[in-house]
């Protein structure tokens, strides 16, 4: 397999129009590393196994681990209210301000608007200043009522790390995780990344991104750059208990993901949980400006896989890598991507139509003669930058639908559901959006 995988990776990047990719996996006590393609189509520099890629939101598991290290040191518990750790913490809803806990933040259940991408500068005070800006964040859903992907929650969590360690998040990460694991190819700031071969993202059409990375305030939610072997070493540390006495605590389900077809069935603490062929799988993915990464850990078999790509159909690519690799290594069937059913499903359009809205996003479901159309538009600051998008929704069952962007190999999934209090929601892109009005 190992030798074949080198060729296979090169074939797969071609198939999925990925400029460059790197793969590392740990299997039966051995590390295997592969690389293919280029880091940047402008410079033509080749990917090597030591190249650094932006791992994006995979960072969230590292930040969650930092908090769990502090929890094991007795500095906090998962149920400690954030305001006890950060007395200046404030969001728009005063009850949420008082009651939101670390557990809510790390399992994406706080309901706090998660998509504030605010540039608070390049300085060491960037996370502190981001926290100040959270004072106006509204709720997507009532505290603890469902799961909605929350970047801001992880930046708030990063601020907790800063407060308890007395260090900027980057330095705390180094001392809590990178140095103890001996990770030499894991960095957060561009002036460190540039000392290594480093990937640039590529946008649709294959051009390099004009901007290399996200603003520094996003650090704890997604600014780690690493070679796949370092990401694998981080994953292994959770199997071997090298950072935490009880890493399995982070695999306890915290909330069922209303749309279980996108990333996994449940959210744990930081990790996303799923089951393949009866085996627990813990994972996380990441997307930045034109770069994508995945990390999968299978505790039963001890296999850890990390893969990074810098453009093209990168999500479909990493899914294809996982599907082939886990079948070969552990005989596991990776959960396939949801697709339209063979037999069309009949639905009652009136049940779904209407406007679903949260901060920054409006989703309108309309009935075009028995076929549903999904219209997604950015609102607020990003409205002028993002074109609204309209996609046909294909029913899979009476709550589940799929849609496909033109040119994409994979289908997106969407689930219509209700909170315990009966209020209707749409779960799309791992975010919960409440229905504002019926059509």
């Amino acid at each position: 397999m190992a030798a074949a995988m080198g060729h296979r990776l090169a074939e797969l990047i071609e198939q999925y129009e990925v400029p460059g990719a790197a793969l590392a996996y740990w299997h039966r006590g051995e590390l295997h590393e592969f690389a293919a393609g280029v880091l940047n189509r402008d410079t033509g520099v080749e990917v090597t196994t030591d190249s650094l890629f932006q791992i994006g939101s995979v960072t969230k598991v590292w930040t969650a681990t930092q908090l769990m290290i502090l929890a094991e040191q007795g500095r906090l518990t998962l149920d400690t209210p954030v305001i006890e750790l950060l007395p200046e913490f404030k969001v728009a809803d005063p009850e949420v301000t008082r009651q939101v806990t670390v557990r809510h933040l790390l399992s994406h259940t706080s309901g706090i608007d998660g998509d504030l991408f605010l540039d608070t500068g390049r300085g060491d005070d960037c996370v502190e200043r981001y926290l100040e800006a959270c004072a106006t964040l509204a709720q997507n859903h009532p505290l603890g009522a469902t799961q909605s992907y929350c970047n801001s929650g992880f930046i708030i969590a990063g601020r907790i790390v800063e407060r308890l360690t007395g260090q900027v998040w980057d330095q705390a990460l180094r001392e809590q995780i990178l140095d103890p694991l001996g990770l030499t190819h894991t960095w957060t700031l561009p002036e460190d990344v540039i000392r290594f071969r480093a990937a640039t993202g590529h946008v649709e059409g294959g051009a390099t991104t004009p901007v290399w990375g996200l603003m520094r305030s996003c650090g704890p939610a997604g600014l780690i750059n690493a070679r796949p072997a370092d990401v694998v070493a981080f994953g292994r540390s959770h199997l071997e208990g090298r950072l935490l006495k009880d890493p399995a605590l982070m695999w306890e389900p915290q909330v069922a993901i209303p749309d279980p077809h996108a990333l996994g069935s449940h959210w744990g603490v930081g990790w996303i949980l799923d089951e393949w062929s009866g085996h627990k799988v813990v994972s996380h993915g990441g997307n930045t400006i034109g770069q994508h990464a995945m990390l999968w850990v299978v505790p039963d078999t001890g296999t850890v896989v990390a893969v990074s790509a810098n453009g093209g159909h990168s999500g479909a690519f990493t899914h294809a890598v996982a599907t082939e690799l886990f079948a070969e290594l552990d005989g596991l069937v990776v959960r396939p991507r949801l697709a339209p059913p063979a037999e069309p499903v009949r639905i009652d359009p009136a049940r779904y139509t209407g406007v679903y809205e949260r901060v920054g996003a409006r989703i309108t479901i309309t009935d075009g003669g028995g076929e549903l159309t999904l219209r997604m538009e950015a609102t607020g600051a990003l409205a002028a930058l993002q074109e609204p998008q309209e996609l046909a929704l294909v029913p899979v069952d009476d709550v589940t639908f799929v849609a496909r962007r033109p040119g994409d190999p994979d289908w997106l999934s969407a689930v219509f559901y209700e909170l315990p209090d009966g209020s209707p929601y749409l779960h799309l892109g791992v975010r919960a959006t409440p229905k504002k009005e019926s059509a």
Binding site: D42, G121, R122, L189, P190, F196
Partner: protein, 438 residues
């Protein structure tokens, strides 16, 4: 022999990890690059690759100040404090003094005031403890800190950061695409890392603090972009596409002699303009260095000639002597002098005039008498020690006047020092910087 072959040969001879060179002559650009950008990654240097250009940045900062003069926002002879009320250094220091390295305060201060947009403001405040070296305007003493103050002045008067002003007012109008002012910009290019020490290891800190950016700590350019900038001066302030970047008056002012540099001219010019080094053999330009990276840049107005060369490790002076200077001679016909060498024993001198201890913020010299000259012991401070400098004692023989030259060559070149003598006794040891006697 082609420029490429000559560069390959020079790199081999001097053990330099990588280099890039661009030459504008006879109305056309010739470029070459060789070696690796980073010995650890093994990425090859190309003509597109960006190198840290160090203090050549000062000429860019000077041009931004001259644009302020054009816009009526700055008078060169007004005190700095008229524009930056928080500038804490005492004395009648003018903008012109800072541009011509004659402000008289400690220049080699590299305080790291962080990555944020407030780093220049904080650096200016930090200068409250800068020592006075000489009276403003009295002497040339290379002053990095003064250029940071100029950068802060540009940022303040333009209402933005120094980087954004540089991007909007120079790099973009010039069409200098292979340019980066931050790590997150440089990482999009093939970018050079510095190599230091006998093993030519990659310097662990890729970039010096942003707080020294206007003096040259951060900017990265492909050699062709320095050539492009140089050609703008030859064109009286016009970019290649005809966009006016500077007025003809500003271009002329920058090349006008402001002050003489004490000592023996070699790599360093003997006179300074506003930003520019002015070489008596007929060129203007500037050089630059960051840990493990070096840049050389000369503009020859009479010959429509510009050369820029960057390298990322040892052997840079050798590359200059074997490659850059010969090319200038061939292309311009000018009699470009070699770097100085020790001559026949000259006039008598009295060592007692010079012996003693001289110190600046980053280093000190212990000067003792020796047979045929002086024995200089360099005592590096923390910053220089971090870059690999160690305490060394070398023999300097008498060169001329109050100047001495190292008996042994290093990298094929001889170092010179000059003493500024007042009332029969050396008041300063001058090596580009004036180090006062202590």
């Amino acid at each position: 022999m082609s420029l490429q072959l000559r560069l390959n040969e020079a790199l081999d001879k001097h053990g330099t990890p990588g280099a890039g060179i661009a030459v504008w002559s006879g109305g056309k650009l010739t470029e070459a690059a060789a070696g690796v950008l980073n010995r650890r990654t093994g990425v090859l240097a190309t003509p597109d690759s960006v190198f840290q250009v160090g203090s050549t940045t000062k000429v860019w900062t000077a041009a931004l100040v001259l644009q302020l003069v054009e816009d009526g926002l700055v008078d060169l002879d007004e005190p700095v404090r008229a524009y930056l009320p928080d500038f804490p250094v005492e004395g009648p220091i003018t903008v012109r003094h800072l541009l011509s390295h004659s402000g008289g305060f400690d220049g080699d201060l590299f305080e790291d005031t962080g990555r944020g947009d407030d780093c220049l403001e904080k650096f200016v405040a930090f200068l409250k403890d800068a020592g006075q070296v000489h009276e403003p305007g009295e002497l040339f003493s290379y002053c990095n800190a003064g250029y940071v103050v100029l950068g802060a002045l540009v940022a303040r008067l333009r209402g933005t950061t120094w980087e954004q002003a540089l991007r909007d007012r120079l790099l973009t109008p010039l069409g200098a695409t292979q340019s980066a002012l931050f790590g997150e910009e440089a990482v999009l290019f093939r970018a050079s890392a510095g190599h230091i020490g006998p093993g030519q290891e990659v310097y662990p800190r890729w970039q010096m603090p942003r707080s020294n950016a206007p003096a040259g700590s951060t900017m990265c350019l492909a050699p062709r972009e320095l050539v492009r900038f140089g050609r703008m001066f030859l064109a009286g302030g016009l970019a290649e596409d005809g966009t006016r970047v500077l007025s003809e008056a500003s271009v002329a002012a920058m090349r006008e002699v402001q002050i003489a540099v004490p000592g023996v001219s070699g790599l360093l010019a003997d006179r300074w303009g506003l930003g520019f080094e002015l070489f008596s053999w007929g060129a203007f330009g500037h050089d630059g260095g960051t840990p493990g990276q070096s840049t050389f840049w000369r503009v020859v107005p009479g010959s429509d000639f510009v050369i820029a060369m960057s390298a990322n490790g040892e052997g840079f002076l050798g590359l200059l002597a074997d490659l850059a200077l010969p090319i200038i001679r061939e292309e311009t016909g000018l009699d470009v002098p070699d770097f100085p060498v020790p001559g026949e024993p000259g006039a008598d001198f009295d060592p007692a005039v010079y012996t003693g201890r001289y110190a600046g913020p980053q280093l000190a010299y212990e000067v003792a008498g020796a047979d045929g000259g002086l024995r200089l012991t360099l005592l590096p401070g923390e910053f220089m020690a971090g870059m690999g400098a160690t305490e060394t004692t070398k023999l300097y023989v008498h060169h001329s006047g109050d100047s001495f030259i190292s008996a042994e060559a290093e990298d094929g070149q001889h170092d010179t020092v000059t003493f500024v003598v007042r009332d029969g006794r050396a008041a300063y040891l001058h090596n580009g910087r004036a180090l006062p006697r202590v």
